[in-house]
Symmetry: C2
Subunit: 187 residues, 2 copies
DNA sequence: GTCTATATTTGGATAGAC
DNA sequence: GTCTATCCAAATATAGAC
């Protein structure tokens, strides 16, 4: 039964992530969580007693897990940096559904979001930047420049998600992924 | 009195822009508009009879005006492209308050925003990209590439705003402005 | 053109049965 | 662990006085 419980918990977390992505902290209502997860409000409070704030923190923790164990995991493997980055690109494309899904780092960083949640967002972003920096350094880029490149690479993806959403066209998102090798490894 | 009315209208529009920037469409409540503008709800409905949707459209129209007549205006002036872009950079820095203020193109493009508002966001973004494309072409970049560069430049700014907000540090925003010359004119 | 007062719906949150 | 039923605050929106 432990396995079923874990699977159920993952499904609920997926619903939370989806709603927070699409509506941000303030626009994410308990009704939308019910619609998306099938659980009514008291059931959600049973799993997350401190309410919406705890739900947002749980959603971010789940994204941390997915990024560490799946999306960015190839960075810690063997092989040449360019090949590892290719895998990361594919997984980013899948995670953001080719640019049609927003990023929690964007939608949970607004001023209407509680400080505890924004602090978690900061940590999640730091981890992503650190992993990109690590890869860039492995490709021979000096530490300080690698960090700047990593921040620029993440900014390119976040900006492309905004542009693609506003244009209702994923061209810029696709270009942001194609530009990653140049940004992190080359020149 | 016409002058006073116009000034009053501009002040209210400034309040709407500020609240939509900080909270997005769904998080922007009439109480926040009251707090920011000093006008109670029935007064706001007097000016914007169709409610929040009309307020968001009015905020975007005002941003269009500011961008066309102030922020991007130097692009249509005389002088070399690099000097004109320098002015645009300064005005973008001021408009986004050195990266501490979000962009309406981001906060009004989510799925919780009404279609009419999202359509306006699309047009506002198109205008910005068109102006950057124009400048890039004037610097000798072929039309098709100039358009790609313009989209990348706007994406860099939007992404930098997200990163700077999440990090509570405007370094990436400053870098995005410094990178504009290279992105639009050089190489 | 702005206000007080109010109607109505949706929001977050809890008590208690099963 | 999930549900029905309920509470209270906050949301959008309007009527009508000044």
């Amino acid at each position: 039964m432990a396995k079923t419980d874990a699977a159920g918990a993952e499904k609920v977390l997926g619903s939370l992530i989806s709603v927070f992505r699409n509506h941000g902290f303030e626009g994410a209502s308990l009704s939308r969580f019910t619609e998306s997860s099938g659980l009514v409000k008291p059931s959600l409070y049973h799993r997350f007693p401190r309410g919406k704030e705890e739900m947002a923190l749980a959603a971010l923790t789940e994204v941390d897990r997915i990024f560490a164990t799946h999306v960015l995991a190839p960075i810690d493997c063997e092989g040449d940096p360019s090949q590892r980055l290719k895998l990361v690109r594919e997984r980013l494309d899948k995670f953001y559904e080719s640019g049609s899904q927003a990023c929690l780092l964007e939608t949970l960083s607004g001023v209407g979001t509680p400080p505890s949640v924004r602090a978690h967002v900061k940590n999640t972003l730091d981890f992503w930047i650190a992993k990109f920096t690590q890869l860039s350094k492995e490709a021979g880029i000096p530490a300080k420049e690698a960090r700047v490149r990593a921040e620029g690479a993440v900014a390119a993806i976040e900006g492309a998600l905004v542009i693609s959403r506003a244009q209702e066209n994923n061209r810029e998102f696709k270009r942001s992924l194609e530009s990653l090798s140049g940004r992190l490894l080359n020149r």
